[in-house]
């Protein structure tokens, strides 16, 4: 083999080897995690249990349900609900008025109640009044309940007195 040919072959071997090694090491899939489709059922994680654990899973489920109704990701909705300014920008960008957002929040809360019941984390006796509240909750309060589901689940603002009973009824 001439030196000229050896040089070209050597260049090819080194180049292909580098690309091959980087591909094998996952170079083609080193990307940020894709956002999950919020309309798909969400697996409920094992938590420490009690109201705290239930509230955490409930919030995520409610966000998924509302995001699914709005056609956005759960992450976009979580950031949108963080401040009033964020919500305004979100509404302008996705052409979502307060009425539409309120309906989505209600849908989210209902889905979270369904999910909690389905996963055996909420008793049917408690779920029924929670559903009744969720179906008519105004927008601002609905957002508060999504953000701090503990309030909703122990009935601080809407179901006074039911909180203690709920603690008792939690599986």
């Amino acid at each position: 083999m001439t030196r000229a040919r050896a040089l070209v072959v050597g260049a090819l071997v080194f180049s292909l080897a580098l690309v091959g090694v980087y591909l094998a090491a996952g170079g083609a899939s080193y990307t940020p995690e894709k956002s999950r489709n919020p309309c798909e059922p969400r697996p409920w994680h094992e938590t420490s249990g009690g109201l705290e654990g239930l509230a955490e899973e409930f919030t995520l489920s409610a966000l998924d349900g509302a995001a699914c109704r709005l056609g956005v990701t759960r992450e976009q909705l979580a950031r949108a609900l963080a401040t009033k300014e964020n919500r305004e920008r979100f509404s302008t960008r996705f052409h979502i008025d307060d009425e539409k957002l309120a309906k989505a929040i209600r849908a989210g809360l209902l889905r979270a109640i369904d999910d909690a019941e389905e996963h055996g984390r909420l008793n049917g006796i408690v779920a029924a009044p929670l559903r009744a509240v969720a179906e008519h909750v105004p927008l601002e309060e609905g957002i508060e309940l999504v953000q701090d589901a503990k309030k909703f689940l122990n009935g601080e603002s809407f179901l006074s007195g039911i909180g203690d009973a709920l603690e008792e009824l939690l599986p």
Binding site: L7, A11, F14, L23, G26, Y30, P32, E33, R36, R74
Partner: protein, 457 residues
């Protein structure tokens, strides 16, 4: 007359060529600082590079003709004086517009000095072949060292110092050349004008333009990835990208080992494509992983640039004009590479920014920390992003200060690591398509290299 290394005129001419061609890439590491100081966009700051290279591409051949008309000694001295004066103007610029104008004037002076130097070198070193080697080596050394020198100056002093330091260097290079200008005889100049100018080597110059586009992309994108994506300091990035000129030294040794310029050009283009392909497929955001691709790029650029320049100049007369064509082709390639790839990667950065933010928010939402703290973090991320439009986000510090409680702190640290991982993935992946396109351009350069073999030689 001493025609060797001891001749100060040879050093002055090599210095002139080196400093001008270094200017094509010396600001690469300063771009993030210029970007922030002058409050411009990624596209705007790209023009600090583009303006210089565009004017060099357009002015190189006319400058070579002017150098032959007025005398290369005078042209080189005037060119260096313009280069120094415009460098001073760049150094004191406070607005992007004045900086771009000064850069363009600097390129005009540079084009005059570089092409005149090629006309002066044969008489100074004793042969055209030796002159070509000195000229090409000085240019390649300048271009390869440029980013590292620029990065060190940017961090130790300021981005303005890159331009200010060129003023005394350019003037020092002009001093020994002034004697040539005085000695020039008008009869000799006229005699040179009457010699016919052959047509430029089309395929070698086309290939030069294509590989230059790929090299510019490699330097520009890698520096942006290191500084803006992975948050390295300019000196840190300068040390990292020094791997390319170091590897280029190895490549220049290989050039002596293989005589056939077409084989060297082909091997260089393949290595360049392989290195860029490696950068497009980085499996992790780790500086060490950029080193093997840089080695291939450094060796490749050294092989392909010298081989194609030799091919473009071999047997062609006058050298200054054909040298002008190679300068024109190289800088046109840089401009095309930057202009073609800038919209691609600015778009990809925006897409990856959104994806990384969503992934980061998902990490926070799914973390075991207190739900109210989660939403507070989501709020902080949103607020932070207000000022990050169009840039690779850096969200790591939204989790600071860390909680005092040990248990909570370890949860937040783990969360920060996961968040950082998503951001690193986003930043790294944002550059992948552009590196991939640059690799493809380097591979496509094999076509004109192959055609040069069949037609032009």
């Amino acid at each position: 007359m001493d025609r060797g290394r001891g001749n100060p005129r040879v050093w002055a001419l090599a210095l002139a060529v080196g400093i001008v061609l270094a200017d094509s890439s010396i600001v690469v590491l300063a771009l993030p600082d210029i970007y922030r100081d002058l409050d411009t966009s990624v596209f705007g700051v790209t023009w600090v590079l583009v303006s210089f290279n565009l004017v060099m591409a357009l002015a190189a051949v006319p400058a070579a003709m002017a150098a032959r008309r007025v005398g290369p000694g005078r042209a080189a001295a005037v060119g260096l004086a313009i280069f120094a004066g415009a460098g001073l103007a760049c150094g004191v610029s406070e607005h992007l517009s004045t900086l771009l104008i000064a850069r363009s004037v600097q390129a005009l002076g540079g084009a005059l000095a570089v092409t005149a130097a090629l006309e002066l070198l044969p008489a100074t070193v004793g042969s055209e072949r030796r002159a070509t080697v000195v000229w090409a080596t000085a240019g390649a050394t300048g271009a390869a060292l440029g980013p590292a020198v620029g990065g060190i100056l940017t961090q130790l002093v300021s981005w303005q110092s890159i331009f200010l330091i060129q003023v005394p260097i350019a003037l020092a290079a002009a001093v020994p050349i002034l004697a040539v200008a005085r000695d020039e005889m008008s009869t000799r100049v006229i005699e040179r004008e009457l010699r016919p100018t052959g047509r430029p080597h089309l395929w070698a110059n086309v290939a030069l333009a294509m590989v230059s586009a790929a090299i510019a992309a490699a330097l520009f994108l890698l520096v942006l990835l290191l500084i803006e994506g992975w948050r390295l300091s300019p000196i840190g990035a300068a040390i990292v990208v020094s791997m390319m000129p170091l590897a280029a030294v190895v490549g220049s040794r290989l050039s002596g080992w293989v005589g056939d310029p077409r084989a060297r050009a082909a091997a260089g283009a393949i290595l360049l494509a392989g290195g860029l392909g490696g950068l497009a497929l980085l499996p992790k955001a780790e500086v060490a992983l950029t080193l093997p691709p840089q080695v291939l790029i450094g060796v490749g650029l050294s092989l392909v640039l010298s081989a194609l320049t030799e091919t473009a100049l071999a047997g062609r007369d006058p050298q200054a004009i054909h040298g002008g064509w190679t300068i024109s082709a190289r800088h046109a390639g840089v401009v095309i590479g930057l202009l073609a790839l800038t919209p691609v990667f600015t778009h990809d950065i925006a897409v990856q920014q959104k994806q990384a933010i969503n992934a980061g928010t998902a990490v926070i939402l799914d973390s075991p920390i207190d739900p109210l703290l989660k939403l507070d973090l989501a709020k902080k991320i949103s607020e932070h992003l207000e000022g990050e439009d169009g840039k690779v986000p850096n969200l790591g510090h939204v989790l600071e200060p860390l909680p005092d409680d040990e248990g909570e702190r370890s949860e937040v640290v783990q969360l920060r690591n996961e968040l950082q991982d998503q951001l690193d993935r986003g930043a790294t992946h944002a550059f992948s398509p552009s590196f991939g396109i640059a690799a493809l351009i380097a591979l496509l350069a094999l076509i004109p290299i192959g055609l040069a073999r069949r037609i032009d030689l």
